[in-house]
C-alpha cells in the first residue's frame, strides 16, 4: 500500500507538489497523467524514496523512511540508466539470483530472442555499446532489472517514451503480464498507455485531480 499525506515538495524555490494526499491499495494499478513539467516524475521519485518531501509523509507498505522505501520498490525510468557493464550485471546489480529466476525474467522482459543471438549471451559487455543498443533493448534490460528485484511495488516513469509503437506495446504488455499482482504506479502523458488501469489521476499545479 502506498500512502501520501499532505505532501509538499519544492525545487529551486518552486512548489511542484502542493499538499497532496493519495492512497493506493495493494495490487492496484494507478496511472498519473499530466503535461510535461507538471511534476509527475517528481511525484514518482518521492514515492520511490529518491526525494524527501518538504512536508507531509510518504509510506510504502508501512515504511516511511525514504532510504528504506527505495529498497522496497522497483523503478523503471524514462532513461534505462544502464551501467558500462554486462547485461547480467545491469540486471542483477551485483546481487545473486538463481539461473532459473534470471531465465524467467529474461523471458518475461522479452529479451531472450535478442540475448540468444549474442556471442556472449547475457554476459555480453554493453559498456562500449550502450549507445548502439536500440531504445527497446535498453529499456527491456531496465525492465528485467525491475522484475529481478521482484518488489511488491513497481513505479514506472514513462518507460515507453523513447520507443516506437511496436516496441511500446511489447514493453507495456511485458510489464502488465509480470505485474498482475503488484502495485503499479505508471506516470505518463499518454492515456493509451494506461489501458486497463484501475484508476487514472491527472496532476495539475501540484495537485491531483
Amino acid at each position: 500500500m502506498i500512502e501520501l499525506k499532505e505532501v509538499t515538495f519544492s525545487y529551486d524555490n518552486k512548489q511542484i507538489i502542493s499538499n497532496l494526499t493519495l492512497s493506493i491499495k495493494k495490487g492496484a494499478k494507478v496511472g498519473i497523467m499530466g503535461e510535461s513539467g507538471c511534476g509527475k516524475s517528481t511525484l514518482l521519485r518521492l514515492m520511490a524514496g529518491l526525494y524527501r518531501a518538504d512536508h507531509g509523509t510518504i509510506s510504502v507498505d508501512g515504511e516511511s523512511d525514504p532510504e528504506k522505501i527505495s529498497r522496497k520498490v522497483s523503478v523503471v525510468m524514462q532513461s534505462p540508466m544502464l551501467l558500462p557493464l554486462s547485461i547480467y550485471d545491469n540486471i542483477t546489480m551485483g546481487h545473486n539470483y538463481s539461473k532459473e529466476q534470471l531465465e524467467k525474467v529474461i523471458k518475461m522482459a522479452r529479451l531472450s530472442s535478442w540475448v540468444d543471438t549474442l556471442p556472449d549471451g547475457i554476459q555480453t559487455y554493453i559498456g562500449d555499446r550502450a549507445d548502439e543498443l536500440s531504445g527497446g533493448q535498453a529499456q527491456r534490460i531496465a525492465i528485467a532489472r525491475a522484475m529481478c528485484k521482484d518488489s511488491e511495488v513497481l513505479l514506472l516513469d514513462e518507460p515507453a517514451s523513447a520507443l516506437d509503437s511496436e516496441n511500446t506495446k511489447s514493453v507495456l504488455d511485458a510489464i502488465m503480464e509480470y505485474a498482475i499482482d503488484k502495485t503499479v504506479v505508471h506516470v505518463t502523458h499518454q492515456l493509451k498507455h494506461l489501458e486497463g488501469y484501475d484508476r487514472i489521476y491527472v496532476l495539475k499545479d501540484g495537485v491531483l485531480i
Binding site: 520511490a48 540508466m81 544502464l82 551501467l83 558500462p84 557493464l85 546489480m93 551485483g94
Partner: protein, 302 residues
Amino acid sequence: MRILGLLVRRNRLHVAGAVGTAMLSNISQMIYMVYIGELVNRIESREPITAKLVIILVCFLISNAVTVYVKHYFGRYAAEKMAHTLRMGYIGNLLKYRKNTDTGAVMSQVQNELSHADEYLSNTFFDITDLLLTGVLVFFFLLFQNVVLTLVIFIPTVLILLYVKWSSRRLSGIVLKALDAKEKMNRVSYSLVHAFPAVKVYNGDEMCIGTYEKSLNSWGEQEADMERLNALYNSLSGVLSRVPLLLLLTVGGYMVLKGNVMLGTLIIFLNMQNTLKQTIMNLPSWISGFKVFITNLDKIQN
C-alpha cells in the same frame, strides 16, 4: 599536389623571391662562418688580425641581419599570397559550379581542410622550406669543409632519428592505451552519476564502487606504464642527442691535434652541427605535417 604546384606557379615570383632570399641568407651565414674560422686560425697560428678581416666580418654580420629580415619578409609575403590564392581559387570555383554544390560538404571543407591548409601555408610552409634549405646547404657546405667530420655528425644523428622514431611509435601505442583507459574511467564515473537513482533503488552501490575502482586501477596502471616508458625513452634520447657533439669534439679534437684539420674548421663544425642535427631530427614531423597539408589540398581539389 596539383594544387600546390598551381599555387607555386601562380605566385612564382614571390616563391622565387622567398627561396632566393632564404638561400642568400644561408650563404651569407656560411661565408661569415668561414671568416670566423679564418679568425680562429689566425689567432691559433699567432698571425696578425688584419683590419680587412675585421671589416669583412662586420659586413657579413650586418649582411646576416639584413638577409634574415628580407628572408622573413619575402617568406611571409609569399605565404600570404599563396594562402590568398588558395582561398580565392576555392571561392571562385564554388561560385562557378555552385549549382552542383553540396552546401554541407562545402561548409565542412571551409571549416576544416581549407582553414588547416590556409594556416599551414601562412605559419609553417615557408619556415619549413627555409629550414630544409638551410639543412641541405649546411650539409653540403660541411661536406665541402671536411667529409670525415660531416659524417661524424650525420651518421649518429640519423641513428638517433631512427631511435626516436622507434621509441615514439612504441610510446604512441602506450599513450593510446592510457587514453583509452582514461576514457573508460570517465565513462564509468559519468554512467554512475547518470544512473544514480537506479543504483540506489537496486542497491547496487557495492558493484558500482567495484566497477569504478577497477576502471580507476586500470587507468592508474596504464598511466604509470606510460610515464615510466616516457621517462625511459626521453632520458635516453636526451643522452643520445649529445653523442654527435661528443663525437665531433673527440674526432675533431684528435684531427686538430694531429694537424689534419685547422681549429677554425672545427669551430665551423661546432657552430653548424646543431643546424644540421635539428634539420634531420625534425624531418619526420615536417614530413607528416606536409602530408596532412597535401591531403587537405587533395580534398579541396576533389
